[in-house]
Amino acid sequence: MTYLAKPKFHHPSLPKNEVGFTRRDYEGKVSTLCAGCGHDSISAAVIQACWEMNIEPHKVAKLSGIGCSSKTPDYFLGNSHGFNTVHGRMPSVLTGANAANKDLLYFGFSGDGDSASIGLGQFAHAMRRGVNMVYMLENNGVYGLTKGQFSATADKGSRSKRGAVNADTPVDTVSLALLMGATFVARSFSGDKRQLVPLIKAAMAHKGAAFIDIISPCVTFNNHVGSTKSYDYMREHNEVANCLDFVPSRDEITVDYEEGESAKVTLHDGSVLELSKNRGEHAFRDKTAAMNYIQEHQVKGVIVTGLLYIQPEATDLHEHLNTVDVPLNRLTEKELCPGAAVLKEINASLR
């Protein structure tokens, strides 16, 4: 925990991206989370991904609920729009914002308390509706702000810092997202940015509801022996499903995997995901296979990370509702009240 702002100086070789920003330009205020919090690593990954994707910060909206996770949007993208909503209500506020202005890039930040307990219904419906967003769930299995009680994602049998054993069945957020119709589902680990950053970039390019569950150890309340969401446990039980390379549409594809070792997925905007299949075949475009894959590994006691499922040609809320091309917030009175003549026409057509 530091009270000092990060010094303005940066490395002399710090590069600028295509829109003229350095990575430091995507930072926010200095974090007030505990030292070593996984959430800070995720913030760093978001900063890196946005820098690499040449995002213009003013075209981003970051929304969150309540909790340690929901504080994080303050710690990156200091020049973007932000909305800290009521507990568990991030999905509905974000849906509203997205409905009004579909031109922004939407990040939803939530935690296991915010999404798997109080906001479970909200989470499910945002996935179901296909709201075009990157939903990141910073999952540490405890209520950190209230001093370390088990959350709804804590594994059955895992121990709290004080030794209590969790008797409840956990909510498996990736399975739930798949069930509810998310069209991009991934799981990652805050301690593995090489995996996380390309996943975030791919999720940003995906049109539709993209969900990433990120195991993010709570160093203060859930990083002990007996925890199933500690740094050590994650490193010992992490089954990397695939390695992902994200190639934006304008870049030449230079990644070269041998036939049979990789698979290419082209997204709606022409960008390409290159996936190396690390261990075993995982048909990430097949929802049933993805669900089986997750379940099988869960039984084995390992946590699979990587891209678990994608539907590249997914559609989003606006397509479902057949809205106009112009974002609704930019429609003026002229378009919304086209006048008596038009009304007459409509009425006539309904007669």
Partner: protein
């Protein structure tokens, strides 16, 4: 790449760029922090211990520390270290009661010191408190050597020289002024246990071109002329003056000329402006006093009218690089340039001269007629004769002379105690954690973003007609404090303990300078390429940990670390700690001998 062995004191010493670059290894950040805290006397004493002449060096040092300063790589310019030293000297209280006292009992050993300049005085200062009887001989009536004779008073007031020389002489040292040693042989015959030669490089190089003899009375050798000015033997010069040469002596000559009646003063240099040996700030100071510098002009002839100097003719040259990249000055073929003048000062270099050292007494000389001197012990081939300062390896600067003095004093002490002088006592290194609380450190870890501050100067009309009125006024306290805050405390080291690291990436993410990387091991050249930010400054070390739990290593590039302690603040397990390295070179005295022995026993 093997894990870094931080137990080797040189590792952290090298991180403190300024201290590493200082020949006397002054603990710069330590005294700058004391200045920031308003403890000027304490800051002065730290300097006094290391470099002996803080007030003098604070005005005249060649500042090898400043080009080395990490701040210069972090932003545009280094910390004004030299002028902060002056602040310590200018604003200290009376520190006389903190100086060593002359010992009540002498140890019976007598040391002769030839020359009363910085090297000899440093030797005497180190040895006198230990009981050695030191006798300093100088041809001039007062001590200080070139500091007194060659540096003009408007840069270095006499009071400062007197004060700092007296601090040393008051340690019970005998100063024999006005006595030139003409024979080392006869000095050796006297009852001295050791002799230190710190007589400087006393001979200014002459320029033998047509006309030199005819107009001899209007041509002066720079250092001799400065010395005569210093002692008041010369107080006028012609209206039109040409100074030949591009070093700091040339800058002192031209600026002195401006004050002694020179109205049209020029500096003419063979080489280009950038290659001139003078320090950049000294060139600036000269130009600030309306003294133009002409480059690429080689003097060809002194012109005269029946023995009355009329000027100098110069050949125009340009720099050409040969196949091996060596620079050569070749004539451009343009017509020669002629400058009129009434006086000429020749400041084209200095040479050593040892006519008083007999060649049959056991002191070997090399082909350049320089004595063979050991670079570490400062000992000549005659065991009880030591050399230091410009006399040892040719003209350098005051701070180098002081460093030589420390080493020679150490050697003399070891020798006269019957020790092996080639075994040097190690650097005294202590590490002290600065952690005081969760986000509280024993040093100020916020990083000032202010740019380098300039010192104050008196209005030009107040000093330009006086040879003794100090032109540069130094920092006022408010500016000094702001400048002191620019120091980034490189001596507060980032110390890593691999056993407690949980590889959470917090340090990697927070580091403002992208210095830290957790990655797979590799050899150094490979690692340098694949860090968070490429480590292209190969003069700066990589701090590599042993293998972490995942088999990876932590690598920290020391190059542009701000020493802000954010890595340690964000570390949940205290694997990073900020520890102040107190590094001191061993000086003459009992401590070092014991330490050597202790090390041997261990």
């Amino acid at each position: 790449m093997k894990p870094t062995d931080i137990a080797v004191p040189d590792y952290f010493h090298k991180v403190v760029d300024c201290q590493w670059a200082c020949p006397a290894h002054t603990p710069v950040p330590e005294y700058i922090r004391l200045i920031a805290a308003g403890r000027y006397g304490d800051a002065y004493m730290i300097n006094w211990e290391s470099n002996v002449f803080p007030g003098i060096l604070g005005r005249t040092c060649d500042r090898p520390c400043e080009p080395a300063c990490r701040r210069g790589r972090v932003e545009k310019e280094p910390v004004a270290i030299c002028r902060l030293k002056r602040v310590a000297a200018d604003f200290k209280d009376d520190i006389r009661d903190r100086l060593p006292k002359p010992p009540e009992q002498k140890n019976g050993k007598r040391i002769a010191l030839v020359g009363g300049g910085p090297a000899s005085l440093a030797v005497a200062r180190d040895l006198a408190p230990l009981g050695y009887e030191c006798v300093v001989f100088d041809q001039d009536p007062k001590s200080g050597g070139m500091m007194r004779t060659q540096i003009p008073k408007f840069r270095l007031p006499e009071t400062v020289i007197d004060e700092e020389c007296d601090y040393i002489l008051n340690l019970g040292i005998e100063f024999v002024g006005g006595k030139r040693i003409d024979s080392l042989k006869s000095l050796l015959a006297e009852d001295f246990d050791a002799i230190f030669v710190g007589c400087g490089a006393p001979r200014g190089r002459d320029l033998d071109i047509p006309g030199r003899k005819e107009v001899a009375k209007n041509i002066h050798i720079g250092i001799d002329w400065l010395s005569s000015v210093s002692f008041g033997h010369i107080d006028r010069i012609g209206k039109r003056v040409i100074v030949l040469g591009g070093g700091n002596t040339a800058m002192d000559c031209c600026r002195s000329s401006r004050r002694l009646g020179g109205e049209d003063v020029k500096v003419v240099v063979r080489s280009g402006f950038e290659e001139m040996k003078a320090s950049p700030w000294e060139k600036e100071d000269a130009m600030h006093e309306d003294i133009p510098i002409f480059n690429y002009l080689v003097p060809k002839e002194f012109t005269h009218d029946n023995g009355k100097l009329t000027g100098i003719t110069f050949e125009k040259v340009k720099a050409v690089r040969d196949a091996k990249g060596r620079r050569d000055l070749v004539p451009t073929g343009e017509p020669d340039q002629h400058f009129d003048c009434d006086s000429v000062l020749v400041a084209i270099g200095q040479e050593n001269a040892f006519p008083w050292v007999e060649r049959d007494i056991g002191i070997a000389f090399d082909k350049y007629d320089m004595p063979l001197v050991d670079k570490t012990t400062m000992q000549s081939t005659l065991p009880r004769v030591f050399f230091g300062g410009d006399a040892a390896f040719g003209p350098k600067n005051i701070i180098t002379a002081v460093a030589h003095g420390h080493e020679a004093a150490l050697s003399i002490d070891l020798m006269l105690r019957g020790e092996d002088i080639s075994r040097r006592p190690p650097l005294i290194a202590k590490m002290l954690s600065q952690k005081m609380g969760i986000h509280e450190w024993g040093y100020r870890n916020s990083v000032s973003v202010e740019e380098r501050h300039n010192t104050k100067w008196a209005p030009v009309e107040t000093y330009i007609n006086s040879i003794s009125v100090e032109a540069e006024l130094g920092f006022d306290l408010k500016t000094a404090r702001a400048e002191a805050e620019r120091c980034i405390n490189c001596d507060v080291q980032t110390v890593f303990t691999k056993e407690t690291c949980i590889e959470c990436d917090a340090c990697v993410d927070i580091c403002p300078m992208d210095c830290i990387t957790i990655t797979t091991p590799g050899d150094e050249s490979d690692l340098r390429q694949r860090l968070t930010a490429p480590a292209m400054n190969i003069d700066q070390s990589l701090y590599v940990s042993g293998s972490l739990k995942t088999g990876r290593v932590i690598v920290k590039d020391e190059d542009v670390c701000l020493h802000c302690g954010f890595c340690a603040e964000r570390c949940p397990t205290g694997a990073w700690d900020m520890q102040k390295s107190l590094l001191k070179t061993a000086h003459a005295g009992a401590g070092c001998k014991d330490e050597c022995r202790a090390k041997e026993v261990a």
